[in-house]
Amino acid sequence: MTPLITTYRSAVTQTVRDAVTRRRRPRQLPGHAVVVHGHRISQNQVEDYAQLFGAVDPQDLPSVLVHVAAFPAAMELMAEPDFPLPLMGMVHLENRVQHHLPVPAETDLEIMATATDLAAHPSGTTVDLVVTVHRSADEGSETQLLWEGTSTYLAKGVRLQDAERPPKAAHPDFTPPEVTAQWRLSGSTGREYAAVSGDYNPIHLHPLTAKALGMKGMIAHGMYLAGRMLAGREPVGAGHSWSISFATPVVLPGTVQVSYAHPDAQRTEVTGWNGRSSKPHFTGVLEIPVR
């Protein structure tokens, strides 16, 4: 798999080339998938992840670590010259994961990434990147679906030809729920997660590079927030599903007010927001079937 950092470099080049040549991108998603055979999540990567989020069972990896390992396949797809949306400046809107079975480290995995659902959005165009993780077949066993995740991305200001611009949905008033936790995120959070995930998007690394790309400041990775949200809460043996959708970015360093609520026995609703501005950062749901 191409390291993410190379992907970003080529994405920047591509963006520059597009700007110079005013080349028009195709309006269709690539019909093919990016497939990686025999990928292994290394013990080193597990340890690095554990440094950031706490102890990890190498036979039953956290969902976000699986995402970290598998997502470069989706990035590769998005970085293809024919991809209809520019990789640079894409905004991560949402993630939905079904974690069917435990994903072990140091085991051959089949990773497949496809892009679907190119759709109009009030601010541009969205696309879903679907990544699946299977256990590789070996003697006497079929491939087995362990994990599947869908990441929704928004390309701001990019319009599909002929597509109607949907009306802006009214922002519902956000009333912060009762705080049950606080995350104090240091200025190095972005760099630390980048080192673990390989996602060296400059908006996470330094205030200056982030501002150069139009951000208010250096911001936390969305998937870092997902990792924090789930840390210590995923069930042994998997079988759970979860989602997270992002509202406003978390500027680093910063404190996130967090609420965990349990409307019923299998559902945990998580909200993260800014205590000062009372603006929501994210909402998440974790579903653990009662067995």
Binding site: Q51, A181, Q257, T268
Partner: protein
């Protein structure tokens, strides 16, 4: 050679642990250092220094030089990993017989209570004739922790065998790694400070700012009055030139307390009521309590102030806000009362640790609340209210300060003396909340 404490003598009755009768565990007395705001006068004193000096003060008060005590148990909430055998090391530095065994205990702010209660049980069972329990904490001496990244590099360096491997490890070191991380008082699972947790409980129980400030004021006035009448003369030994708790503000007023800005639950805006004045500051100090069987005490001409009757530990699920972090004692109490066949109103003194004024008031309100007692405690009727004139009558943590593990010993020794002065059979109740959603309640009976 000092005779070892044992129950093997043919004349002594059979120990309860061996089928005999339970016997009372009595409190002979206690000793503590003055409590001092952190990073102040004790800034260069280690946990071991504090605990050793406190034990030595106890030894001097009761003439225990060269005595082989059955067991010493004490702990510290925040301590160096080098202090892996803190209590034993402290004992070895005292005038006690070096053959006195010692071990450590830790249950956050209830450490002292657990140490003392556990030892009392061993005495009751006949496993010990004498014991010293207590705790120490020095935020000033708190270990500075390197970031995980720095630690990873250092550990790799440590594992590296060859020079090349060592250089590789060293090359990963970054100047930023050197910035140490200060220890936090935040709950590991929520990242929230104890004060921010309590702020939510305080709000939930609708405890007013005025009520909290009044409790804080009473604490300061009561502690100051106790000092003035010499109450602490035989409970405290000065340390490093300090002879009084330096958080004490005898001249505090409601106006002064009322002028302070909220320090916790600031996100609650107008509803934030917890200030530095009605919350305990970080404090350094140590305390110990001398316990024994009645025979052990009388053989040595030692006073008997009170009997340690019973104690109960509770825990609540605070992580996602099901219950307030510091509400565990509210849950532990009904179990203790039922076991002892007592009611909340049976006591002559109530010692409710003032982690925050809001903690004390929320706990009291919860015991008065019909619905809470029914749905949460499973009781038919509320536990009811207490006579506030019997609450923390010689001051508590808001005035004295709260060196986490040392608070239990402070309370037990003071309450034992109060009950002794009140008279035989008088009853005292202790409630101490602790980090991690835990807490201990205990009963003492005067002698």
């Amino acid at each position: 050679m000092t005779s070892a404490s044992s129950n093997t003598s043919k004349n002594s009755p059979k120990a309860a642990i061996a089928g005999g009768e339970l016997r009372p565990a009595v409190i002979v007395g206690g000793n503590r250092t003055p409590f001092v705001r952190s990073h102040g006068k004790y800034a260069t004193a280690s946990n071991k220094d504090l605990l050793t000096a406190t034990l030595d003060g106890l030894v001097a008060r009761f003439g225990l030089q060269g005595e082989q005590i059955g067991e010493v148990a004490a702990g510290a909430v925040i301590k160096h990993s080098k202090d892996f055998n803190l209590t034993r090391e402290a004992v070895l530095g005292t005038a006690l017989d070096p053959r006195t065994p010692a071990h450590e205990v830790q249950i956050a702010c209830a450490t002292g209570m657990e140490a003392i209660g556990g030892l009392a049980n061993k005495i009751r069972l006949g496993q010990l004739d004498s014991a010293i329990g207590g705790g120490v904490d020095s935020i000033s001496d708190a270990p500075l922790v390197f970031s995980d990244a720095a630690r990873a590099v250092l550990m790799e360096l440590n594992r590296a065998k060859s020079t090349k491997a060592k250089l590789t490890a060293l090359s990963k070191f970054r100047p930023g790694h050197l910035a140490p991380q200060a220890p936090g008082t935040g709950e590991p699972r929520t990242g929230m400070s104890m004060g921010d947790h309590q702020a939510r409980t305080t709000l939930k129980w609708e405890i007013t700012r005025e009520a909290q400030d009044q409790l804080a004021l009473d604490s300061h006035k009561n502690l100051a009055a106790a000092y003035d009448r010499g109450f602490f003369d035989d409970l405290i030994t000065p340390f490093r030139g300090v002879s009084r708790d330096n958080n004490l503000r005898p001249d505090s007023t409601l106006e002064k307390l009322g002028s302070l800005k909220p320090a916790f639950g600031k996100d609650l805006g107008e509803k934030a009521t917890m200030t530095a004045g009605n919350s305990t500051p970080l404090t350094d100090g140590a305390s110990v309590v001398l316990l024994g069987s009645e025979e052990w005490a009388s053989e040595r001409g030692l006073p008997v102030l009170a009997e340690f009757v019973d104690f109960e530990t509770g825990a609540v699920d605070f992580v996602d806000g099901d219950e307030g972090l510091l509400m565990a004692p509210a849950y532990a109490l009904p179990r203790l009362l039922e076991r002892q066949g007592m009611s909340l109103q049976d006591f002559d003194y109530y010692e409710i640790h003032e982690a925050f004024a809001g903690t004390v008031l929320s706990t009291l309100k919860a015991w008065e609340d019909e619905e809470f007692c029914r749905t949460r405690l499973g009781l038919d009727a509320p536990l009811g209210s207490i006579d506030r004139a019997k609450l923390n009558v010689n001051g508590s943590s808001l005035a004295a300060g709260h060196p986490f593990a040392a608070t239990g010993g402070r309370i037990v020794a003071s309450l034992a003396k109060m009950l002794h002065e009140k008279g035989t059979g008088s009853l005292g109740l202790i409630s101490v909340c602790a980090a991690g959603g835990q807490g201990i309640v205990a009963i003492l009976r005067g002698r």
